[in-house]
Symmetry: D2
Subunit: 355 residues, 4 copies
Amino acid sequence: MAFNSFGNILRLTTFGESHGIAIGGVLDGFPAGVEIDLKAVQEELDRRKPGQSKIVTQRKEPDTVEFLSGIFEGRSTGTSIGFIIKNTNQKSKDYSHNTDVYRPSHADFTYDKKYGIRDHRGGGRSSARETANWVVAGALAKQLISHISINAYTSSVGEIEMKQEYQHLDFSKIESNDIRCPDAEMAEKMIDKIKEIRKLGDTIGGTISCVVQNMPVGLGEPIFHKLHAELGKAMLSLNAVKGFEFGSGFDGTKMKGSQHNDLFNEDGSTKTNLSGGIQGGISNGMDIYFRVAFKPVATIMQNQPTINSKGEATEIMGKGRHDPCVVPRAVPVIEALTALVLADFYLLNKTRKIS
Amino acid sequence: MAFNSFGNILRLTTFGESHGIAIGGVLDGFPAGVEIDLKAVQEELDRRKPGQSKIVTQRKEPDTVEFLSGIFEGRSTGTSIGFIIKNTNQKSKDYSHNTDVYRPSHADFTYDKKYGIRDHRGGGRSSARETANWVVAGALAKQLISHISINAYTSSVGEIEMKQEYQHLDFSKIESNDIRCPDAEMAEKMIDKIKEIRKLGDTIGGTISCVVQNMPVGLGEPIFHKLHAELGKAMLSLNAVKGFEFGSGFDGTKMKGSQHNDLFNEDGSTKTNLSGGIQGGISNGMDIYFRVAFKPVATIMQNQPTINSKGEATEIMGKGRHDPCVVPRAVPVIEALTALVLADFYLLNKTRKIS
Amino acid sequence: MAFNSFGNILRLTTFGESHGIAIGGVLDGFPAGVEIDLKAVQEELDRRKPGQSKIVTQRKEPDTVEFLSGIFEGRSTGTSIGFIIKNTNQKSKDYSHNTDVYRPSHADFTYDKKYGIRDHRGGGRSSARETANWVVAGALAKQLISHISINAYTSSVGEIEMKQEYQHLDFSKIESNDIRCPDAEMAEKMIDKIKEIRKLGDTIGGTISCVVQNMPVGLGEPIFHKLHAELGKAMLSLNAVKGFEFGSGFDGTKMKGSQHNDLFNEDGSTKTNLSGGIQGGISNGMDIYFRVAFKPVATIMQNQPTINSKGEATEIMGKGRHDPCVVPRAVPVIEALTALVLADFYLLNKTRKIS
Amino acid sequence: MAFNSFGNILRLTTFGESHGIAIGGVLDGFPAGVEIDLKAVQEELDRRKPGQSKIVTQRKEPDTVEFLSGIFEGRSTGTSIGFIIKNTNQKSKDYSHNTDVYRPSHADFTYDKKYGIRDHRGGGRSSARETANWVVAGALAKQLISHISINAYTSSVGEIEMKQEYQHLDFSKIESNDIRCPDAEMAEKMIDKIKEIRKLGDTIGGTISCVVQNMPVGLGEPIFHKLHAELGKAMLSLNAVKGFEFGSGFDGTKMKGSQHNDLFNEDGSTKTNLSGGIQGGISNGMDIYFRVAFKPVATIMQNQPTINSKGEATEIMGKGRHDPCVVPRAVPVIEALTALVLADFYLLNKTRKIS
């Protein structure tokens, strides 16, 4: 079963509460002999860390990963890779008022009802702090499948939506602004929107798009581990995600087969790519692209009526330092999850036919 | 790993090609002592079978399930439940022309490249015929969690989209028309649309909505088996699906936190339900609702240029008898998958706290 | 979890009761492109079938395997391989007297207490008939790893024990007698012993030894899937098994390190092989050898006092046709399980280092 | 798959090399609401630690476990429990001479061949240091199933073997001597033997017996997760183990069915217990007992010829501080593994019938 594990051959198992001593994980099944660039791992983690820009939470946590095993003299040994990230800036006081109060649209109520107990500090296990673990593991996965290129970017903030197709974007610009949108003009609008929302003590949703290029043909394991199904599951595991679509997505439902079918070129590539690079759950070598929907962050700096664990009416107002929009910090997380899924399928595919 | 298995405690493993001798599966982990209504299982299968109405494929297959084990004197014994559905109407001749040709936007190309061999008859393992297995298993799962109510229905065909919220629908009307839409007027429009499309030798996409009522609180297993993530994965496993959203979905990305948060009533229910009945990956007792996007069926009755396995240009035209729109027959499949996911979480939840 | 599944990448899931309609299974993860010799599969099954000689049960069942999927035009397609073996000679009448009676040292009592219901006919799911499924899957596994040689043989029946080391045996003689012992003289003694025991209406235990030759180096997955641990688990899954030892086994506990250590030759082979071909859970290329202990069959043709499900004292006497000694028919089962374990590790090992 | 994971619902995933920064693990699936006695966990760890007596390695390591998550205000929260044990006394220098040399009957050769790289310091991942992780997890498991009593003890050292049946032993005496044998006289002989062996710079094997009392009926999950099969796998996962037998074990192979069958009392208990408390893979409520065979420790303080990674002949002599006999320190490890297996089955059994 493994409630806190993800993946098959390449398998991440994680632990950690937002305000515990440390979070961390074990990355199992990573093959031996891969040269590990530890600095690159930390850089991915820095892309996710709080306090990195003016439009994210101003909480400061260094988020330094410490590897405890599985890497020796600069290379993976094939044994499980254990790592931790210490929680250095816990400020539990910010959450002491939440002990017994259920924050609306958070997981306080459901955790309490399910387990009969919860670590209420900062959301405990339900906190998005967990995603730092995923970024560490994903950064290692990226190094395993370095021949594949993965780029995620912010494609909308609230109503502000980038309409260009990804083919017209310059992914090298993604990191050039705080919102991680490759279109400078749109980026500015998005950033302004977030600043405006934050001033209101409110939050806003958005979408992230992700494009995978240089895909090998043949990754994905039908019937029950189709490539897009695992990508979808991975994305839906991420806090605040409400939807996933790939290729033509929801728009494709309005099309006719004669419009939607991707005709072949003689080399096996296709003239169009409404399939989004996946057919029958298996990559066809074309670019994979998908879009992920994020709801607005539930913690707002406004007074909200709510209840406590006794069912008594009370009020709550966000304290602490929170993100007005989850999207910019989620970009590296989406890439990390994508890398984990692809690396797992890359390894699985080595077993699927005799050669 | 289990490439062809789905679920954790309640686990379905399937096999079978479209035009092989039989398809079938093993449902493992089904608890002992459940009274099994075999007739109800066959009825679910009949909802999915070909030839049931004028807007689906006119292929005739009885699709009779035979149970081979695990049920004794009308009750489940706790041992694995084996079943088969014989392929009685195989007409491989319809597919003999496809031996070496890759049908556009089908899985022919990817299966061939991945495995180096494929059963080309009717799509082989990639055929949606597999979903008959899911309906059998799902029908058993429904009987295990009979206290939970699951209703799926067609919510759009092409541009024809039902806008009412599910609360205003009468689910008892779903089976009253061929498209399985509870709104009679919309149903007629959808049916007309499909007939029109079929006359063109074309196909059309659509969406299915699903609503789960009488949900217990506490189902779902974070961090990596969140309830909506497993639902999403299940739905994305279904042929032709391009997207999944739950609760506020993609529309929720445009909202502010102050609008989106579901405020509590004193009994723990919420005044709104933009969360879609799931918070932090765990059911909160409110209705779960989600929407699934289907692309148009790839097999069209029109001439299409394509290539064969040698990369040579050729042409293909759909023969055989195919669905102009996958949606009406997919409704029971979506319910089945939902039941499988929920029943698995229902069993898992028995282990999550001491009592 | 998968209560009825075995293996990781190569994964067998089974179903079936002794006196149900059929038993069968799904072999998942079998790579594409392997030429399948169906006749060889049936031959393995024939080695296990009842009625094959005078020292086994005289029950007659043809035990014909029918493959339903996953094999196309003589080769594996990489999709799941479904198969069934029909129960043709069920004679439930022989068991009708057992409906409510717990046979001593059978699983009647424990199944009833665990599940609250049981299929009492012939032991239901707990019957060794299940092992026919394993032989089918193992025969396919043997074809996948045909470069590895697996030979099991009867090494003792009761007190009659073959003392020679396997190196002095001619494995081609195993099938030359009914007990499957490569030493003709010992075989005769064992057969006589079984005949004598059967006349008494009694049964007798025994041991089977198994030798794996031409092993590649590197199979086995520490820490928790060590090669010998998985072999041991496989063997202990087989009905009537009470013990497993490999290499020096229990005798090795009496030795000193200076005696027990296997010193290296310069080519990496070892001068002795007390390790039994496995070090740290990984094959070292030397022969693997192990020994499996079987208790006497619990069904005896003598009157035994026992209880029924109400806890009332009653009597029971074996009817039907049973084996006086399980060992000769278990030889092909042990080989099958060994092949399944090794084939799984063979596939897993393809993912463990970059090349 | 999960190479470094053990268990199903209750699942331990571990990491760590002997001379890395830390070893540790994640215990997943531990139910919420269990009061955790952290002191008791450390006490179990102290039973395993080096330097505790004169007959074990004189290496000094405090082996202090640090819990990082999953326990809040003295109780388990249902989330994954992360923990580490720092490697404080690494003395890599003791192993610097091993960099390139394969120690006979160690895993140096097999790790190197399998992975193409190994952390040679103290055996790296293959070191029995890993078992400290198991003891931590097992100590938690013991607290979950505190109604079940588990006692392991040394039953032989070399030829010195305790013949009494466990029913005649006083388990409260196990911890009263350094060898952990409940018979004071035998204990003294065993200790003398080990001292004698150590003086020779040699090592010796032995056996550990384990008895489980107050077992509930119904634990164990056939067909492929039989209780004794999982116990056997667990024990065979432990370094230096060469064999496992339960109930009548290898001796049972010499018996007749009429002698071996355990006849019932009217309360469902049995008059004898040659079955060892398990029938058909499911506990029957009688005591479970089994025996585990350990080879002599491979590291001896004598000069041994060997080879290096280039296949060149060389010599090696054990340095560092090693155990002359693994048995006394393995006693708590066997109990820990037993507890992990039983606790997992305890949780699984909650899902196996409707109530």
